[in-house]
Amino acid sequence: MAELVAVIASTHHPFYYRASTATGEDRPPFADEWVRKVEAFRETLTRARPDVLVMVGSDHFHQLWLDNMPQFLVGKAPFYDANWYNEEREFGLPRMFFTGQEDLSAYILREGLDAGFDLAFSNELRIDHSITCPIITLRPQNDLPIVPIYTNIFAPPLPQPKRFVQLGRTIRELVESWPSDKRVAVIGTGHLSLELGGPRQFGPHGPDPEFDRKAVEWISSGDIEGCLAEVSLESLHLPGNATHGFMDFMLMMGVAGEGRKADYVDTYDLFHTMEAYFTWYPDGGRQ
């Protein structure tokens, strides 16, 4: 069976690429420390020596639209183009190209459907910055095949938070039962408190530092039950109007497991939103 060698949860900050590559007067004062933190985080994936990456993210109204909106979607294709015109325009992100691990996509779809998740699929998926950002930060050489999984944290009505946790648990079971000798890492990105297009956007910190503190504690301690007791679709409006992206962190807590403390935790308080980086090694890091 395949081996789950790392579980990684991260924010996806579309400004990292531009900040980290800027030079001279264009380089923001927070860039050097940000790069240092990202490179340390990257090492946590490198040392797990993965062969395949399962990438959990969320389309930002690029390919998925309100006339036909899936709640959970698995990409099943031999290749994926990535990043879109308006991400190039706004964030300076480069066009990218990925190889797909199509047999794992097929396995997740078949077994996921049989496990009670009515997963949508796409055979031609252009992925966006929710998946390309963690490749840029964690695997910039972009040399591993991927399975993209999209969740709807964006266009209500949304699935309940517990459903994200359940899907995370199922993804783990499916990776660990995949008949393969591959080493698999599951990487998912979301947000802590975040406001987009509202009065609290682009402040000196994330819109709700207290929520961020609690969120980092839930994730780093694996406190799924405590998190589910406080977080609801309604409550997530309070820390910022785009905070439902936190549910992708909850999905990753489901992958990591109840009560499972993260083996690596780091945060970086930036303008607009806090960065947060977590890694779990299912085998305790013996690899």
Partner: protein, 120 residues
């Protein structure tokens, strides 16, 4: 009241570089043209087929025609779509980094929780 149609306008304009410029320069004309020619176009579908029932309300048409992002927020248009398109159209006019985004936030400062529902 059609949050969906407001979002469809913002979405289809944002992803077309020519339409972004056209909407920046001629908002009222672009909205009139779009409602007549594009509102019913079913995206990602056979060409030649169209929906027949999609219309803006007078207030929706006015808000889009006057670049009134505050009214769009209050009507429940998706804030990500509005912000992304506004950045594309107006960030270039800002005199300092994030100036446009912070002005945008200040113009919404009167808004209190709970925000208008964006469910479509």
């Amino acid at each position: 009241m059609s949050k969906y149609l407001l979002n469809k306008f913002l979405f289809t304009v944002d992803r077309d570089p020519e339409l972004v410029e056209r909407y920046r320069e001629d908002p009222a004309g672009t909205v009139t043209w779009w409602e007549a020619e594009r509102a019913g176009q079913i995206l990602n579908c056979h060409s030649g087929e169209a929906s027949t029932w999609l219309r803006f309300t007078d207030e929706e048409r006015r808000a889009l025609s006057q670049h009134d992002h505050v009214a769009l927020f209050e009507m429940g248009a998706h804030p990500f779509l509005t912000l992304t398109l506004w950045i594309a159209m107006f960030e270039r006019d800002a005199t300092e980094p994030l100036g446009m985004q912070l002005d945008y936030a200040r113009e919404l400062a009167h808004v209190t929780l709970p925000y208008p529902d964006i469910t479509t």
